[in-house]
């Protein structure tokens, strides 16, 4: 399911070479037909082409934000897990503080305040991409950090780490060679679910008009444009909505499967 979506988004544009911004007023707001398999929007632009373009953006944002979240989370979690005392306490306090922050309002606030200046530096599309990825990633690292810390606390007392320590391995080597690979299982599960969450956040931002600029078709911004035409062109809203839903559902199922595979407590 997920691989079909990824393939469709990556290969699809070559098989369906219709431009995303081909305006054709004669064919506006049409339902699905042979010429336009998913119909057209209010400017007569082909929805299938726009969907594939939007899918590429959504998946890219999802994975990039997950990488940011994992990097920050693993870094903070492992520092907290290896050091005890006040460093650990301070980092965990910071983590709890970020956990209490309401993500969406903060996302909106940051997008609102920084949008214009980042746009100037990195260009319209690139700026929005970098900003969205950093902000979503920067607000999603806390569960990873907690998880990594908990794993570190138990792993660093294990015999094999002690053996490495006795052999004179440095702290960095202990972490990179011995502890981190063993702590990674649950982190991957959380990372998978983070991709889904990041995709939802990105489409929410676009839906509220604060994500990518409005001429870039993402699933969220397509839904936003479509919501005023629900009565005459329902297909326009249904296809991108269903695409978001199916992608997120597929990723969550993968995450669930991975969790079951990694969970030693799993009963019958």
């Amino acid at each position: 399911m997920l691989s079909i979506l990824v393939l469709g988004v990556l290969v699809g544009p070559y098989l369906w070479p219709v431009a995303i911004n081909d305006i054709d007023f004669a064919a506006k707001l049409q339902g699905p037909s042979l010429a336009h398999p998913l119909g057209t929007d209010d400017l007569g632009q082909d929805l299938l082409a726009r969907m594939m373009y939007g899918g590429k953006i959504s998946l890219a944002v999802g994975f990039a934000a997950m990488l940011v979240a994992l990097t920050v989370g693993v870094l903070i979690g492992s520092v907290a897990g290896m050091s005890s005392g006040w460093v650990d306490a301070a980092l965990m306090w910071l983590t709890d503080l970020f956990l209490a922050l309401p993500t969406l309002p903060l996302l909106l606030l940051v997008m609102y305040l920084f949008r214009d200046s980042v746009k100037k530096v990195l260009g319209v599309e690139g700026g929005a991409f970098v900003l969205i990825v950093i902000v979503i990633g920067g607000l999603r690292w806390m569960p990873v950090a907690r998880l990594v810390r908990a794993q570190f606390l138990s792993l660093r007392e294990k015999e094999f780490v002690e053996a490495a320590r006795a052999l004179g391995a440095s702290k960095v080597r202990q972490v990179v060679q011995h502890i981190l690979p063993n702590a990674l299982g649950p982190v991957i599960v959380v990372g998978t679910i983070d991709v889904a969450a990041a995709i939802i956040f990105e489409s929410t931002l676009s839906f509220l008009g604060l994500g990518f600029p409005s001429d870039v078709p993402t699933w969220g911004s397509m839904l936003r444009d479509a919501k005023d035409y629900l009565d005459i062109a329902a297909h326009w809203a249904l296809f991108p909505g269903a695409a978001i839903f199916l992608t997120v559902l597929a990723i969550n199922f993968v995450g669930d499967g991975l969790r079951d595979a990694f969970d030693p407590r799993r009963m019958l």
Partner: protein
């Protein structure tokens, strides 16, 4: 439950509020843009006047001084003036807050009353057909973005069936029961959208929590004493399984407020969420800051309540 525990929780909440205010102010201070920027391009105003204005409003002070200034103003309830609505920000937020709290409260009640029975029933017979169906639906509910469910509900119930209004109106022309009837009718869809999104997550929590408890020895003891199965589940299992769920509900709150913003925007509910979006579109910075701050405060407050409830439900906590 001892008083010390509550006091300790209260003392922990204060630094987190301070931390949140530092983060919010930091974002604001790092943001580019200068309130007197347009004066710079106005040839009638000499640069010295602009510098004097900056100095008067303290824009050249070091960051920490500006923070203290801003923070003391926030504490005193001076949240600034909304240029868009021509009124004080705190009054504007107070006007909008009750609607949001009612919608969130009703959706939480809906979510809890759906999720607890379903989660318990699914956990009693794990991997049965009911459990499979419930888990699948929970997964679907948890993967559906609120803005899409909202649009689908509008499509089905407002446009196809024409049962429910899709725009929330504050000026209803009716009195007595009809007035309340209209209000309930127009709240159904926002509440259901928000509630179902929550219910999906809650069913999963509840199910795993019951599964953790049902294997414990005291449940076997209760069964072997000959207590009926129904009574064992309701009185012994569910009561203990609910304890962790209370915390998890509190941890979900930031997400609930996020969902509320989207839902209010779709159905045009006049709450603080739609206020936030409208303020962002109108570049009304004092309102944006005020709403973000009040939402953060509410989340900390509800987390505090959950912590205290947790201590009350589980007396073992207090002695730690």
């Amino acid at each position: 439950m001892n008083r010390q525990y509550i006091i300790r929780r209260l003392l922990i909440a204060i630094p987190s509020l301070l931390g949140i205010s530092v983060i919010l102010f930091g974002i604001l201070a790092m943001a580019p843009g200068d309130p007197f920027e347009e004066l710079a391009t106005n040839p009638a105003i000499p640069p010295e006047v602009r510098m004097a204005l900056r100095a008067k409003f303290g824009l050249d002070d070091p960051v920490w001084q500006r923070y203290l200034h801003w923070f003391s103003a926030m504490v005193q309830g001076d949240w600034g003036f909304s240029f868009q609505s021509r009124m004080d920000v705190d009054r504007l937020i107070l006007q909008r807050l009750p609607v949001t709290l009612i919608v969130i409260g009703a959706s939480q009640i809906l979510a809890i009353s759906v999720a607890i029975p379903v989660g318990v029933l699914a956990a009693i017979k794990p991997y049965s057909i009911f459990d499979q169906i419930a888990s699948t639906f929970a997964m679907i509910g948890f993967s559906l973005p609120t803005f899409f469910t909202g649009l689908v509900l509008i499509l089905v119930f407002s446009i196809q069936l024409d049962w429910l209004p899709f725009v929330y109106r504050a000026d209803i022309n009716a009195k007595g029961w009809a007035f309340y009837g209209e209000h309930i009718k127009q709240s159904i869809m926002p509440v259901v959208v928000l509630g179902l999104a929550q219910a999906g997550t809650l069913v999963r929590f509840m199910r795993s929590s019951v599964l953790d408890v049902i294997r414990l020895d005291y449940v076997t003891t209760a069964r072997s004493k000959g207590i009926g199965e129904r009574k064992v589940i309701v009185r012994h299992v569910v009561r203990n399984a609910l304890i962790p769920v209370v915390t998890l509900i509190a941890l979900q709150l930031p997400a609930v407020f996020g969902g509320a913003i989207v839902t209010e925007q779709i159905f045009r509910v006049p709450g603080i969420g739609s206020l936030l979006i409208a303020a962002i579109q109108a570049n009304d910075t004092p309102v944006v800051m005020g709403v973000t701050f009040i939402i953060s405060c509410l989340v900390v407050l509800f987390n505090l309540i959950a912590d205290i409830l947790y201590g009350w439900l589980d007396p073992r906590i207090s002695f730690r």
